[in-house]
Subunit: 153 residues, 2 copies
Amino acid sequence: MQKLDSTDREILKYLQENAHLTTKELASRLNLSPTPVYERVRRLENDGVIKKYVAVIDREKIGKDLMVFCNIRLKEHAQEAGKKFVEEIVKLTEVIECHNISGEYDFMIKVVVDDMREYQSFLMNKLASLENIGSTHSIFVMSEVKNETKFEV
Amino acid sequence: MQKLDSTDREILKYLQENAHLTTKELASRLNLSPTPVYERVRRLENDGVIKKYVAVIDREKIGKDLMVFCNIRLKEHAQEAGKKFVEEIVKLTEVIECHNISGEYDFMIKVVVDDMREYQSFLMNKLASLENIGSTHSIFVMSEVKNETKFEV
DNA sequence: GGTGAAACTATACATTG
DNA sequence: CAATGTATAGTTTCACC
């Protein structure tokens, strides 16, 4: 896999904003013909630089009004115990993100649910029922100021 | 804007996984003809339920090896002061997310940069130079266990 | 709400320079 | 990388159920 040049970076910039841009439209933005653009996009896809194309949904328009960051400390830190936790947590559809973090907690997960009732049920019935959970600490999102999917390339 | 029925929800489920699905492909998955699918997708777009379609980039393949959650406490909590902070923080391209949160900090931001050197420079030159920053606390992501863009609809 | 066909438009990809 | 050509596939509309 070769390094990205400035044309690749421009392509990524545009596709991170709009996945429905056609080769033609991209080409005209880059002052190129469609041919090289087509080849570069395919290369970026094959190399896995572009992982996938997705639709971004308005969370509140589908009634997911509550977002919570939940910090989790495990009881046991043995490799096996951690692996087990990870296997289980990724299965939960309410868990959008899970990160292994530095600091006083082991993991931070981002949870999206309809409302507080559902979050409570998530905590009590799903999270707490996993083995090896030591303690949790929930931080509630009061308002979303910025939420991008895009990186500066 | 009408409520979503189960067909809408199925469409959203598929498009959240792959924005490049065509009307035809969606239709065959839903056992429908292209026409209603086409109309529903357009309605979902117009209603803003589908905000946009984006390419998802592999963060590490473009050298963004460091992700940090940075908790921020403001000095002044007057509405004006908070507004000013928000206006400035959203401009920073390293800041992928910014949430107004409950608890001992006012905001949590998600920052993506190349390496620790760049993060240090971000903290010192960009974040600290905003007015009204009281204190910050960085939590480093050691490994990304799950990172979805998708909600269960 | 849905079907199915028809018309139109755009795209992907190969070829040649 | 440009330009062109063409097979193929997509979008969109319409008449009808």
